[in-house]
Symmetry: C3
Subunit: 314 residues, 3 copies
């Protein structure tokens, strides 16, 4: 038997793994084509212990389009974990007994450690403190599709990188392709964590901290990071952050290069009730790839699921 492949974190995959997943994603990225012969009767188990609009739905669509279905716990209400009668380990062990592959969301569960004893492949759908690995995979696919390349991208980020699991994951992923990151974290405390920087630099990535206006005109891809922090952030930092955070709109996007693209995190709400971008202005801009990412994401998850399940795709 082959070793079980996991995507419990970005670093489970080599660049070759990513290349193969992106190759498959292109095959599945065809609207309306029938792929139900690819994984008939296969079951994706969900263990989602935080709310989800996009990730759970995209994973569900992926397995349905492949000819299978999903089971398990798609939302935090109504489970034994939720009422405190069962541990994450026991729950995932049990879900593994009836599913072929699991997708998991939890605020702090360490999925990489759990993966060592897991009996089916795992997908990190924003699990643990550091990563929305599956989200980052989709973001990278759409960025590369729009830019025509994955290598040596100039990536701008505005917002709380430190407290954004998608942003930390995309940093790790694009670092493997030699990206340079221009980061305006609004307040220094929300900059990319040092341990992620060091790890990414070892892969050839570079980091530049600067005000957004200094780099927005230079980057290939610009990310406005979601404004709801991970649980446990210091309220004083959030107050300072909200005070200085400028909502991004038309006048900011005007500074972006014509061939560049950008996206905003979702949910787009901030803790002070504002939205991180003027969504109407953002969505009206043809360079905005937020919904393109979400639309592509099902195909990327079809690619990931088939790859982890060792299903051949030509």
């Amino acid at each position: 038997m082959n070793k079980i492949k996991h995507f419990s974190q970005v670093n489970d995959f080599t660049k070759e793994d990513f290349d193969e997943v992106f190759r498959r994603a292109k095959i599945f990225d065809v609207k309306g084509k029938d792929f139900t012969h690819v994984a008939p009767g296969k079951v994706l188990g969900l263990g989602f212990f935080q709310e989800s609009t996009r990730t759970a739905s995209g994973l569900q669509s992926a397995i349905i389009r492949l000819g299978g279905g999903w089971n398990g716990i798609p939302s935090p209400a109504g489970s034994y974990v939720n009422i405190g009668e069962e541990s994450m380990d026991d729950t995932l062990n049990s879900l593994s007994d009836s599913a072929d592959i699991l997708g998991i969301r939890h605020k702090n569960f360490d999925l990489a450690t759990y993966s060592k004893k897991a009996t089916v492949p795992l997908i990190n759908g924003m699990c643990g403190g550091d990563e929305h690995s599956a989200g980052a995979l989709g973001m990278a696919y759409t960025i590369a599709k729009k830019m025509g390349k994955m290598d040596n991208l100039k990536v701008g980020m505005y917002g709380m990188v430190k407290s954004s699991r998608p942003s930390k994951a995309i940093t790790r992923l694009l670092a493997k392709y030699g990206a340079t990151f221009y980061v305006d974290p609004v307040i220094p405390e929300f900059n990319t964590p040092d341990y992620i920087k060091k790890e990414a630099e070892a892969s050839g990535a570079k980091f530049i901290t600067a005000p957004v206006k200094d780099f927005i005109g230079e980057v290939d891809y610009f990310s406005v990071i979601e404004g709801l922090p991970q649980a446990g952030e210091d309220p004083k930092h959030l107050e300072a952050y909200n005070k200085d955070f400028q909502i991004m709109g038309k006048k900011d996007f005007a500074l972006l290069g014509k061939q560049s693209s950008f996206s905003y995190g979702m949910p787009g709400a901030m803790t002070d009730g504002r939205m991180i971008v003027n969504m109407t202005e953002a969505d009206a801009d043809s360079r905005c790839i937020t919904h393109a990412m979400l639309k592509d994401w099902t195909a990327v998850m079809m690619a990931l699921i088939t790859y982890l399940l060792d299903i051949k795709v030509k």
Copy 2:
């Protein structure tokens, strides 16, 4: 690309649209036949932000029987909307990115307005203040099946039309086929709203307000309306309503014509804890089509989904 078809409200459809959906429903209304080749891998996204027993289940069955599956938010617990972190617009926009078609329930969201910018077809599964459009579609199908015709029906209604979204929707729908409505709203405040009457009369419908005993013997189809009002009804009206509402039973149904049919709304509970009908007596009557409607409803939803998705059905 064709314009996206929606069923965000009864008035999205012309009589020709309804005729075509009912034609398809007859094809799908065959117990046990395999239709999984019709829509393999297609995904119905649910955005149900109020409880549902029948509507969500029927929509889910419809897409499964067509060879696809469902994703999204099937019940109000455990979503970002539920915890106040995301708007309906953003949620539906995002669900649209991974689904082929959406079914939606919400107490006051204006689906017709949203449909103008929607990127996939929408089904109103009791959304907004006025309509359970998909419910009405199924009711009309079964009524016509039992009566052998859809045109010029005499329809009796007993109960809070004003506060019943299925009743307001069926009024609009059958008005297109020239129905005459005999309404006993128990108290005047719960009569069919004037704006719906005017609109329906413009389609050729007629309205007569009278005590139920005066018309129950005359109608082709008689509806006992559910007793739980929409959110926000005046408690004084409800008190007066409950005081005068008579539970319908065997002795009332005895007054109905032999060729007539009737149904009762579900859930059948009233705000004072009573049930709107004696269910045992109602279900024992061969003219009661409540469960026939529910049984037919999956086929009607298969018809609606395929029609909205432009899938040919012969």
Copy 3:
């Protein structure tokens, strides 16, 4: 039309029914084989009004692997029953209108009585005070698979039989195959209820109450019963039970016969926060069949569903 078959309780089935289901389970118990041609488009309706990790997931997997899908209410949050607006009878009647078969969990609903008027086959997924019938079916299958026989098994039980619905159901089931039960209920109040004993003895079963150390070396199969009681147990009994209950571990399993097998109930938590077994030690023992049962269970449910739906399986 054939009479509708139900599995609302163990006693709905004769030994011949069980034999046929186990025959089918062997056919489906093949990892990775495609069975989606068996029940394409069939719908399993869930009515789960208590939490579930394993039962709901296994039922969902079973219908997906057979080519169908599931709908309904998979967890207690967000349903009309949950908010008190609809009865179990009305809910199940309505779910029956869109599904081909129902799986049900409820703390005290009498499913056997309801089955007399049910319009689709019912599966008891831990419903009512006495039984987790579907759970017991799977346990019996795996025990027989490991022991090479179903007849005349020596079964040891340690824990609160009286308050364990899986244990009461497996007692009834294995009694039909002439089992002898060695029971250590920790406190006398938690012994197998007399009415179940009498019924089982009428089928040829025997019961011996003794301390676990006296029989653990003698039995073919040993069950450590879950430690969370059914709702309504006397707190004084629980206190006495917790005081005397010994967590089972390596040193206890060492006393088991080499050809014997054992399992522990899940969730494994007790009301005092302890776990009923040392799970690491239990899972490391090759005779522990807890997860083997769960892995086999999907195949057993595929067998049960096809049998209840009168689908031929060769």
